[in-house]
Symmetry: C2
Subunit: 375 residues, 2 copies
């Protein structure tokens, strides 16, 4: 298993997390944390309201069944948003020596609920790993889903440095980057970059339900990308959106205003500034999308080389083998099929310095380069 061994080299030499970690909730996030900590040699005690789900998580190697005499130093609450506050309260009471964190994707609502009940929150630090997969559940859990992802940690005036270090240590052990943020800033941020995009994709895709087959045949890659996340599961999203309603509504209202402005400009094309209003919207969109961090961080740029590839087994192998011989590392890849054709297009992202080497080397080996971005 050479690949595994090599990958593991990215893990820290010595885990910061020690003692027993109790994980309550063995869904995708809880189980993935369990897998990652277990691989680091940490004792992971799993609990779940569902015995079947718990058994599955244990069978898949996320940890052991929690025992009555466990003395965890850290408790991770990874349950659905609507029961997060209840479970945090119970865990704080049951384990008076443990630091308790949660991984819910909304941070203010559980905090308000706990404060309203007068719970002592000095040992609680809310957190949120920005990681996930399209499929949930213990079966989909993967130790690596946190690697390179942000992990928001919400400290407040009551948080001790030692407790903060425990939660940030967990994030670091799992390969994530801890980001300290207030619960308010967190909730506003995820409303903008996650919750509203989900709603937008869903309402747009919902418009296709009543459309003619013929109309949908005209759909291309653009609209497929725009609506991809509309495939997300309703149950979890109803909870998330409900728990973060105020910040979500704020962005939705602003967005509805922007859409109304575009509609107005299109309705009255001869009104002063109408064309300009439409152009400005597209231009601001250009600017906004440029600000999103890329797969390799905000400022690193790759060039694309598009290669024609036969749609037969082994062709991609030959292509990537030869790129390896040319010492060209593939940073990203997008494979485009031409339905009905016997070939596809492989769009390969490489560092700018490697474009010439890749193009010349591949052409010399008989590949057809369809295009490159820095010609």
């Amino acid at each position: 298993m050479s690949t595994t061994t090599d990958a593991r080299a990215a893990a820290p030499l010595a885990a910061r997390t020690s003692g027993t970690v109790r994980i309550v909730g063995s869904g995708l996030l809880g189980s993935s944390i369990g897998h990652a900590l277990s691989a680091l040699g940490v004792d992971v005690a799993l609990a779940d309201a569902s015995p079947a789900q718990l058994r599955l998580a244990v069978d898949y190697g996320a940890g052991r069944l929690a025992a009555a005499d466990d003395a965890p130093s850290l408790i991770v609450v990874a349950v659905p948003p609507d029961v997060t506050a209840d479970v945090i309260e119970r865990e704080l009471a049951d384990y008076p020596d443990a630091v308790v964190t949660d991984v819910a994707s909304v941070k203010l609502e559980p905090l308000h609920a706990l404060r309203a009940r007068g719970v002592d929150l000095s040992r609680y630090i809310g957190s949120h790993p920005l990681a996930g997969r399209e499929r949930g559940g213990a079966i989909s859990a993967r130790a690596d889903i946190f690697v390179g992802r942000p992990w928001v940690v919400c400290r407040d005036g009551e948080t001790s440095s030692a407790d903060l270090a425990v939660v940030e240590g967990l994030a670091l052990d799992l390969g994530a980057t801890p980001i300290e943020m207030s619960p308010e800033d967190h909730d506003r941020s995820v409303a903008l970059v996650s919750h509203v995009p989900q709603i937008v994709a869903s309402v747009l895709a919902a418009r296709f339900v009543g459309a003619a087959d013929e109309s949908l045949r005209l759909a291309g890659q653009g609209v497929r990308d725009t609506t991809r996340i509309a495939a997300s599961a309703p149950e979890l999203w109803v909870q998330i959106l409900g728990a973060n309603a105020a910040p979500v509504v704020e962005v939705l209202d602003a967005l509805a205003g922007d859409l109304a402005d575009v509609a107005e400009a299109l309705r009255l094309p001869d009104a002063p500034g109408s064309r300009r209003a439409v152009a400005d919207t597209i231009r601001r969109g250009n600017e906004g999308v440029e600000r999103l961090p890329g797969k390799h961080g905000q400022n690193r740029r790759f060039e694309q080389v598009v290669v024609m590839v036969d749609d037969t087994p082994g062709q991609l192998g030959r292509l990537f083998g030869e790129l390896g011989e040319l010492d060209v590392n593939v940073e990203d890849l997008r494979l485009e099929h031409s339905p009905g054709a016997q070939f596809g297009l492989a769009e390969i992202s490489v560092v700018p310095d490697a474009v010439r080497r890749a193009v010349d080397g591949l052409e010399a080996r008989g590949w057809k380069i369809a295009s490159t971005t820095n010609d």
Copy 2:
């Protein structure tokens, strides 16, 4: 150039398009049509209002310069939407024996303009290849961008079967699938699957302009996909949206209503049916996105196998080489980097029958399978 030769096997044995084809406008679409027809041995005469652009297209092999004594059988108008009607009118007058088509992405506005001027449209058939690239211009032109894509052909009562066959023959020669549609249906369809998604992506991305860096650090792949097309160029889109204003406004208004309904349900979480309204929106989004044709057509489904891959040259080569040995064809591929980690995840789409073979074979060769969709 074995790859090229194999790919060419997908081209028709005998081109339907014959004689001289005059292409007016040597941007991305005009030049790409020129490349494809030239490769089929058709005589392509190029014209463009910009001598520099024209020279570039000729240099890149899209065709020859048009001559005064050309007698084209088919004229393709591939100019920006705002001058499309003017150019169609002029070409019909200048070449009284030619069939004239255009490739503008809006079909009703030029038709209305031409009818209002009393132009005899018996030799004009509007069309629209649903093909494009993120970059425009003759430099980005590619002969293969039409392969497998729909090409809408708008016949009307005046259209002769012989003329229709010429335009549909062009589409077929370029590897596209002709779809007959009324101009009204076409414009409504592209409003839904192309123009409104563009606006939605742009207004959403525009919201990031004023956001804090810290907030945007929380962005993941979902919002990146949702806003990817916000990177499109403003100039062309202002023209397209302006030319298709009524159908676009209709969808925008409906969408704004849908967004307002979600906002209302979130604002009044305890009102009867509020949670259900949010769930229904997500659920209808699930249903709508399922209706979009996939890369291989609407009904074919692939399974995904996710493999951990070292982020070093040659690793993907080894992976794809071994998949070839296992006789597994890679239908699609998504490469996910974990920034800061020494490895990435290759999500490989394969036909369901090949999942077991791929997983067992790769594991036997030491690869770590992170997950599969049909476990």
